[in-house]
């Protein structure tokens, strides 16, 4: 039947490009890098920035104590960035997370410090408040149809006001020591070690092993389904490189105070949300809504429901960040979390999310957050003052998005 179709049809030049190396190993690193320039560019930038500040600070940046510090200091921004990138992929924005961090921390502090509830009750309450705030935002965005920019701008004012009322305009501190452990506790000494923490290294080794096994199984499955994979030596090289970086990082931590509890929380969140966005129907629908809302609707995506849960999830993570931040600050202040939303948004965009929605990755947002963290930390170590830091961060955000747009335009021009 199809034999009569004209073969000359549709042979546009771009389509006649051969399906190079399909079903075989791709080992040309150039091809691999070019295929994912948007994603790989961010890693290259990350490494470059680390190297730059490592040199500028005479290596202090990479010292065991400082690496631990970076993790502790920026963990809550990274938690927020995970939720934020999902919001941004769906084509929304959330300006309220700073206020929500303050409110959840405040509720927790009032319960634990003022009312003498147990430490865990404060955490549960903080997360519950976060969920409620998320549901509030989700209701207005998804079911009433008000743009998220407006809803969360209102939320920013609203929840900051509620924070002041809950705290009665005063700061509360201190939390019991169990509560403080979330942000500044460590797992160490569980299996000993001479001048270093063997447990940290063990956990890291397990993680690297898991990564290798997972990667290998994915590779096998792809080969079974006849999809392009990288060549085996390249795969091994990739695993070794990731393993080396992780083990170096763990080695440094093991020589400081051990494995920060907050790092475990963070790792679990990154892993979980990475899988949710890439491998679940919900994740696909988030990308579909951001890529083309009308097409998603006409494909049977329940857009309102998905949008609602995106904001509930953001509220949940803001609650988690609220716990971590109040734990680290060892109390609650009326002005807590100020401008956190901007850091989280910047992290998502530096990490490759597109302003117009439909593009972005959880891992990218976390790396974007780490880039800002390393820059801030590095400049602090160098004694650069706050004002200059702000200027530099602003420029980096601008350049990151400019790079993204340049990339897109170049991709468009090859058509």
């Amino acid at each position: 039947m199809t034999s009569t179709k004209p073969t000359a049809a549709e042979e546009t030049a771009s389509e006649s490009a051969p399906a190079a190396a399909l079903h075989t190993g791709i080992s040309d690193p150039r091809t691999l890098i070019m295929r994912n320039l948007r994603q790989s560019g961010i890693y290259v930038a990350f490494v470059a920035i680390i190297a730059l500040f490592a040199v500028l600070t005479d290596g202090v940046l990479l010292s065991p104590g400082n690496i631990t510090n970076i993790v502790l200091q920026y963990s809550y921004i990274l938690v927020l960035a995970i939720g934020m990138v999902i919001v941004i992929i769906a084509g929304h924005i959330d300006l309220s997370v700073g206020s929500v961090v303050a409110l959840t921390g405040a509720v927790s502090a009032v319960l634990v410090i003022q009312q003498d509830y147990p430490w865990w009750a404060g955490m549960v309450a903080a997360v519950a408040v976060g969920l409620a705030v998320g549901a509030w935002h989700g209701f207005w965005v998804a079911y009433v149809g008000i743009p998220a920019f407006i809803v969360t701008l209102a939320g920013m004012l609203l929840f900051r006001g509620l924070t002041l009322q809950v705290l009665d305009n005063i700061s509360l501190s201190p939390f019991p020591s169990e509560y403080q452990k979330v942000a500044s506790g460590f797992l160490n000494g569980l299996i000993g070690g001479q001048g270093y923490d063997a447990f940290t290294l063990l956990i890291a080794a397990v993680a690297v092993g898991g990564y290798a096994v997972f990667g290998f199984r994915t590779r096998l499955a792809r080969i079974r389904y006849q999809q392009p994979v990288e060549s085996f030596p390249l795969f091994v090289a990739k695993v070794l490189a990731v393993g080396a970086v992780v083990m170096y990082f763990a080695w440094q931590l093991a020589h400081a105070r051990g494995l920060p509890i907050v790092l475990i929380i963070l790792a679990v969140l990154v892993l979980a949300y990475g899988l949710v966005t890439q491998r679940t129907v919900f994740g696909r629908q988030v990308y579909a809504i951001g890529g083309n809302l009308s097409a998603a609707l006409l494909s049977g995506v329940k857009v309102k429901k998905v949008n609602f849960w995106i904001f509930v999830n953001m509220g949940f993570l803001a609650g988690v960040a609220g716990v971590i931040y109040s734990s680290r600050a060892n109390g609650a202040q009326p002005a807590a979390g100020n401008m956190f939303e901007l850091d989280a948004i910047a992290a998502a965009f530096i990490g490759g999310a597109a302003v117009s929605g439909g593009v972005g990755r959880v891992v990218g947002a976390v790396v974007g957050g780490l880039i800002m963290a390393v820059m801030s930390n590095g400049m602090q170590l160098m004694g650069v003052d706050q004002s200059t830091q702000s200027v530099v961060k602003g420029l980096v955000l601008l350049i990151a998005v400019a790079f993204d747009i340049y990339n897109k335009r170049r991709a468009g021009a090859t058509r």
């Binding site: 039947m1 199809t2 009569t4 179709k5 004209p6 000359a8 049809a9 549709e10 042979e11 546009t12 030049a13 771009s14 389509e15 006649s16 490009a17 051969p18 399906a19 190079a20 399909l22 499955a221 792809r222 079974r224 389904y225 006849q226 999809q227 392009p228 890439q278 491998r279 679940t280 129907v281 919900f282 994740g283 696909r284 629908q285 990308y287 579909a288 890529g291 083309n292 009308s294 097409a295 998603a296 609707l297 006409l298 494909s299 049977g300 995506v301 329940k302 597109a354 439909g358 593009v359 991709a411 021009a413 090859t414 058509r415």
Partner: protein
Amino acid sequence: MDDAILEMRGITKRFPGVTALQDVSITVRRGEIHAICGENGAGKSTLMKVLSGVYPTGSYDGEIIFDGQPVHFNGIRDSEHVGIVIIHQELALVPYLSIAENIFLGNERKGASSLIDWHRTNAEAGKLLESVGLGENPVTPVIQLGVGKQQLVEIAKALSKEVRLLILDEPTAALNDIDSAHLLGLLRKLKARGITCIMISHKLNEITAIADSTTVIRDGKTVETLDMRGGDVTQERIIRGMVGRDLESFYPDRVSSPGEEVLRIEDWTVRHPVQDRNVVEGANLNVRAGEVVGIAGLMGAGRTELAMSVFGRSYGRDISGRIYMHGKEVKARNVAEAIDNGIAYATEDRKRYGLNLIADVCRNISAAALGKLSRAGWVNGNEEIKVAEQKRRDMNIKTPTVMSVVGQLSGGNQQKVVLSKWLLTDPEVLILDEPTRGIDVGAKYEIYTIINRLVADGKAVIVISSELPELLGICDRIYTLSAGRITGELPVAEATQENLMALMTKEKELAA
């Protein structure tokens, strides 16, 4: 050689890794209507972008001679300066500005104080509107006009720039027959005023009716320039140039053997989402397994509105009526329920409503069938790629891999991705809204072949189309729709373009 207003000689345009135009030459005589034909991706638009300066001098090889002078354009402003104006397929009007403001946008009529002189603006706009035969008030916002009238505003805008060479890219693609006829009449009038016109079009009947010469482009090369003035060049002759050989027929043969009724719609009424009127009123129709049913109607007759309201109430409000699948009434209150009930709807506007253009082929194909490809909410990514690969081969989608971004495919291949997406939901009824709009002859043939394969497999297909020959070529039965009412139902053997058109305009005459 007659007096040539434009000569493009040896134009070669390369993109990284691709040669889009290779040694293309074209000569346009002063005061003629010159058609450019070619399949999608043949290089027509690239050639026009070279001519209008979108691709600046130096980014291509070859030379352009306009009115006897070699010209070098570095942007649209340069080409407009000498009187070359291009009107793109997607109209570039600002919806909330008035007709007059749009006409003089970037070219404002200013008074002595260098503020805008509104009296002069509106008066001059009024004269321009008169010359294109558009009886609208210049202060009307453009958003209130239909596509056909917007097209006329674009032409008025071109006239305001003292155009000498007018380039129209697919001017009638979105117009109904009446508006198209009006536009073609206007082009003849402009020709009489000495304005040369280049027209890119897929509608060969229009080209044979209006063009003085036709240049055929294939795979980035000029194939031939036909002199149409003798009137002996047929559509078949042009198609031979476009595809490089004869098409035995526009429409593939098939044997029709309709079976049991699959879908029946009774007393279907839909109100406009904001206006106080019914867009569809009391419609009854049915379709059987293995049958292709056409819906013919002029623009605004309610074809798309009918289809979308049936497809999970995606359009309109206060919808009433009943849907039966295999004789049993079903509820399709949202798209997910419609899909579950075996209904699929492929939109007329694939870029806006059909595809996630920034996502890859694979994810677009799986978008409506993720439920089938997942367990407990987890997508089986490998299975997904496998079925996408299968569809790529079945449908002959020309893409390097299923990981390529859909936005980079040509119209025909994008349409195949849309069809693949809906076939993956395993529907019993497919509603195809303008399935061949904006795609070339070869790809159209492939789409028809796919439709035939579907009905041979026992699916029921409803095709909505503005092109009557297409409906006559592929349907078993045709309903006509006019002002929201079904005004007729004809077996294809009894249908002709004339009696269909009579039924399609029936209600309107009654109202008038």
